[in-house]
């Protein structure tokens, strides 16, 4: 019978994905890009929608929430997983509302007026069964997947609006989005080839900046690699700072690779614009207040190797992976839907996620 087989297959896939997430986050394996993670999550959610047994939208949302909690628990720092789950939940809500015939606007936000007039939260059960719901949801998820596939290109297309010739651009670590962004600007268009110079801070201890520099220089861009300690020293000659990030937080701040806060402060001191290239799937409804969940640490061996000997037992060594960058230091966000100021991020978030889904 196809049912149980499909179910076991589904659970197998989910387990495989979970263990992948757990392993991928230690920093030692090949670091998978967040775009890949987002795609895989969405594909997995589509599979769950297609293969799991559910009769109403509420059931489906419950299933997805359950799986989602397990996935985020496997790798809390990988926020794209949670983001995609929330996107899909929102899709389900929308499709349900559309099937029921009511307009989307009414169910959107809890407005103060609604609270006063209706006298309490409207309980939306999602219990009604609609035959076409499954197909609609799967179609919507497919659209989401297409959007995900085009994000890097969409961002890269905006490159020429922001980079003029003979500029000196600084970046830190390795971001595939920024790489595509800069390579697009440098590519020859007709007769014109925009020449600019890129300075890459290597971002110890993982030194991902080295990889970024080699790929940029292969694309013909003048690249210089500097040590992290020299960021402030060379900042006076830099025209723009363009960085990628791991997550965009709900207040417009960033959770980026460590060293980014120093870079942002140096840019602010020299009044250099700081541009963040972040696709929409990185936007997360988290706030930076949760001290214990914000930071992630990896093995201190990266910082002080075991070969150092006796002193290891007598010192504390920290190796944080992420940095918090407050929104005041950021000038512009470039995403696949255009450019925004950091103060606009909360609005985008309300379009992407439903407030009830912020807590999975």
């Amino acid at each position: 019978m196809p049912g149980p087989d499909k179910e076991t297959e589904l659970t197998e896939r989910i387990e495989a994905f979970l263990s992948d997430l757990k392993r991928g986050g230690s920093g030692t394996g090949p670091l998978r890009g967040s775009a890949e993670t987002a795609r895989e999550t969405t594909a997995l959610l589509r599979r769950i929608t297609a293969q799991a047994r559910w009769s109403s939208a509420g059931d489906l949302m419950e299933i997805i929430r359950k799986e989602g909690r397990r996935m985020t628990a496997a790798q809390p720092s990988e926020t794209t997983v949670g983001n995609m789950i929330r996107r899909v939940l929102k899709i389900i809500r929308e499709e349900y509302a559309r099937s029921r015939g009511s307009s989307e606007e009414t169910d959107q936000q809890e407005s103060l007026h609604k609270l006063l007039t209706s006298g309490g939260l409207s309980e939306e059960n999602f219990r009604q069964h609609f035959a076409a719901l499954k197909a609609n949801v799967i179609e919507a998820i497919n659209e989401l997947l297409t959007e995900l596939e085009g994000t890097t290109d969409n961002i890269a297309m905006q490159a020429l609006e922001h980079i003029h010739s003979n500029e000196v651009i600084m970046t830190i670590g390795r971001s595939r989005t920024v790489e595509a962004f800069l390579e697009d600007a440098a590519r020859k268009r007709g007769d014109m080839k925009r020449k600019f110079h890129v300075i890459v801070a290597e971002c110890a201890p993982f030194c991902q900046g080295h990889e970024m520099a080699t790929s940029l220089s292969k694309a013909g861009i003048e690249t210089t690699v500097i040590a992290d300690a020299a960021i402030f020293a060379v900042m006076s000659r830099v025209n723009k700072v363009i960085i990628g990030t791991q997550t965009v937080l709900a207040n417009g701040g960033l959770r980026a690779v460590n060293g980014t806060h120093t870079l942002a402060l140096a840019a602010k001191h020299h009044s250099t614009p700081l541009i963040v290239c972040a696709p929409m799937f990185k936007l997360s409804p988290q706030f930076p207040n949760e001290e214990d969940t914000f930071h992630k640490f990896v093995s201190p061996h990266e910082v002080l190797p075991f070969t150092e000997g006796e002193i290891l037992s007598k010192v504390n060594v920290h190796c944080p992976v992420f940095d918090y960058v407050p929104p005041e230091l950021i000038t512009l966000y470039i995403s696949n839907i255009g450019g925004h100021a950091p103060s606009y991020i909360y609005r985008l978030m309300s379009e992407l996620y439903h407030p009830e889904d912020h807590e999975l």
Binding site: A204, T224, D228, A233, D323
Partner: protein, 535 residues
């Protein structure tokens, strides 16, 4: 004019120009240069006037007074075209600082001679004082109120690596001194093409042939230690330099018909050029060399050789004791007042002075813990970590990219300095300015500890114009078996930059602790002035 009895080279016309070498034969090149200079000088009216006045009395000039950034070697060749006037640091009050004409070449040699003549002619000089100080300097303009010095400094050679003329002159000078020239290595980032960049892969003796007759073996050893980074840190380098010079003085014997005061200074010149080739001299080393040269030239000609030598050795010991050892004690005493129980102190890299302060505070039973911040590629913080842990101080260790994570825990930041510039900027290991910046953003006080002998007359506003480029291959790292940048030389558009120093603006620094007390960053020129008056 008193002739000191040594062979004066070409003769009368040389005397008029004051451009000659002492006791050496003029090579063809030098004669040509002489002729060129003569023409240049004749074009300038004021120079003629000055010549006339100066024929009668030569002023005393200070050794390497124009570039306190310790480039005595650079005096010679670099200033041909703009005939700038060297900065005059005020000398003991009896002598008049006065603008003097810039000799076109071999400035240090000329100085030595002039000094000898001045000793004999001090009285006539006093008479001419009024005249001379009225002469405006030729070439670059300067502010000439009677007490302030005309401060036009010659540009040191080590920041003109992109000027082929300067490089040629340097090559000629080194050839004359029989010191091999070290060649640059690798692709230089365009912003820094005016600086030298050397490789550390092969030890210096393999790259250059060093003639043992010209350079004392102690100096060769010192040069090797510098170039390989075995002796690093400004205090360590200065002390090593002074010890090497002591050895040189001990082994020195005055050749016949020579005066110790002049000949020894001349002997030191090729050594300094050589050391400069191994690694550009630091500000502290420059001040030490200035001091030694002054002491040597102050030796009167009546002094017997043995007495002179022991006097010099004594002077050097005194200098080390006063300026370095006792200064460290004084600074520690002041700093301990600033360390309270329960403090969390952040230090960067390995500064001998800051480490000393922490040891002393720990001896005095202050309860504090230390966070050591380190950076690639030098990773000097590990050395500091070892030393502190050995003493029993509880430490934490992070890399500089994690400094904004760790800073909320920190109560004070102690930084060491390589030099303090006259406009209040702190020149220190690269990364210091970054730490000061982030500390300022978190409102943590930043204290810089620096001995007064590291104060220098230079001014600088960014880390580009005068810096040191280290071996770019140091940035290469192998992780997980892969070395990304291994073949960076073959990729044409890829460059590696390994800076050694950077400058911290004074608004990031809250306090500077020196052996003279605790001063704000902006008081550095005051200290310099006071110091010079004392001397």
């Amino acid at each position: 004019m008193a002739d000191s009895g040594d062979t004066e080279g070409a003769g009368k016309n040389d005397e008029i120009e004051r451009a000659k070498t002492e006791g050496k034969e003029l090579t063809k090149e030098e004669k040509q240069r002489l002729r060129k200079e003569k023409k240049q000088q004749k074009k300038n009216k004021e120079k003629k006037e000055e010549k006339a006045s100066q024929e009668g009395g030569k002023e005393k000039k200070h050794v390497s007074s124009e570039s306190p950034a310790s480039q005595p070697t650079t005096q010679t060749q670099t200033q041909k075209a703009p005939s700038a006037v060297p900065a005059q640091v005020p000398v003991p009050a009896s002598e008049t600082p006065a603008p003097a004409e810039k000799p076109a070449k071999s400035k240090a040699e000329l100085k030595a001679e002039r000094r000898a003549r001045q000793e004999a002619e001090r009285s006539s000089k006093q008479g001419k004082k009024g005249e001379a100080s009225q002469q405006a300097a030729t070439g670059k303009p300067k502010a000439p109120p009677s007490e302030l010095q005309p401060v036009v400094k010659r540009l040191p050679e080590h920041v003109q690596a992109d000027n082929p003329e300067v490089l040629k002159k340097l090559a000629k000078k080194l050839e004359r001194q029989q010191i091999p020239l070290r060649s640059d290595y690798g692709y230089k980032v365009s912003l820094f093409s005016h600086l030298h960049q050397y490789s550390r892969k092969a030890p210096l003796t393999q790259q250059l042939g060093i003639p043992s007759t010209v350079i004392h073996p102690a100096i060769v050893r010192l040069g090797l230690q510098y170039s390989q980074g075995i002796v690093a840190g400004s205090n360590a380098r200065s002390v090593a330099l002074l010890h090497a010079f002591k050895q040189v003085i001990r082994d020195y014997s005055t050749p016949p018909n020579e005066e110790l005061s002049r000949d020894l200074v001349n002997k030191l010149k090729p050594y300094i050029s050589f050391l400069n080739q191994c690694r550009p001299l630091s500000a502290s080393m420059g001040n030490a060399i200035k001091y030694i040269k002054k002491e040597i030239s102050n030796i009167s000609s009546q002094c017997k050789e043995e007495d002179a030598k022991s006097k010099l050795l004594n002077c050097i010991d005194c200098y080390i004791n006063e300026k370095i050892t006792l200064a460290a004690k004084a600074i520690a005493k002041y700093s301990i007042e600033k360390i309270s129980d329960g403090d969390v102190i952040l230090v960067y890299g390995c500064s001998s002075l800051v480490n000393h302060i922490l040891y002393e505070a720990f001896e005095k039973d202050r309860k504090f813990r230390v966070i050591v911040v380190d950076s690639r590629p030098r990773l000097e913080g590990r050395e500091a970590l070892r030393r502190l842990v050995q003493r029993g101080i509880s430490c934490t260790y992070v890399l500089i990219s994690a400094v904004s994570y760790i800073l909320p825990e920190v109560s004070k930041v102690f930084l060491g300095a390589h030099a303090l510039l006259a406009n209040g900027y702190v020149m220190s290991r690269v990364g210091t300015s970054q730490i000061a910046l982030v500390a300022k953003a978190f409102n943590v006080p930043v204290l810089v500890c620096c001995e007064t002998y590291k104060f220098c007359d230079r001014v600088q506003t960014d880390s580009f114009v005068s810096n040191e480029l280290d071996d770019p291959d140091d940035l290469i790292v192998t992780r997980n078996g892969k070395t990304q940048l291994e073949h960076w030389q073959q990729v044409p558009s890829l460059g590696l930059l390994n800076l050694v120093y950077d400058v911290t603006p004074p608004d990031f620094v809250d306090l500077v602790i020196t052996d003279l007390g605790m001063i704000p960053c902006t008081s550095v020129p005051v200290v310099l002035r006071v110091k010079n008056v004392d001397q």
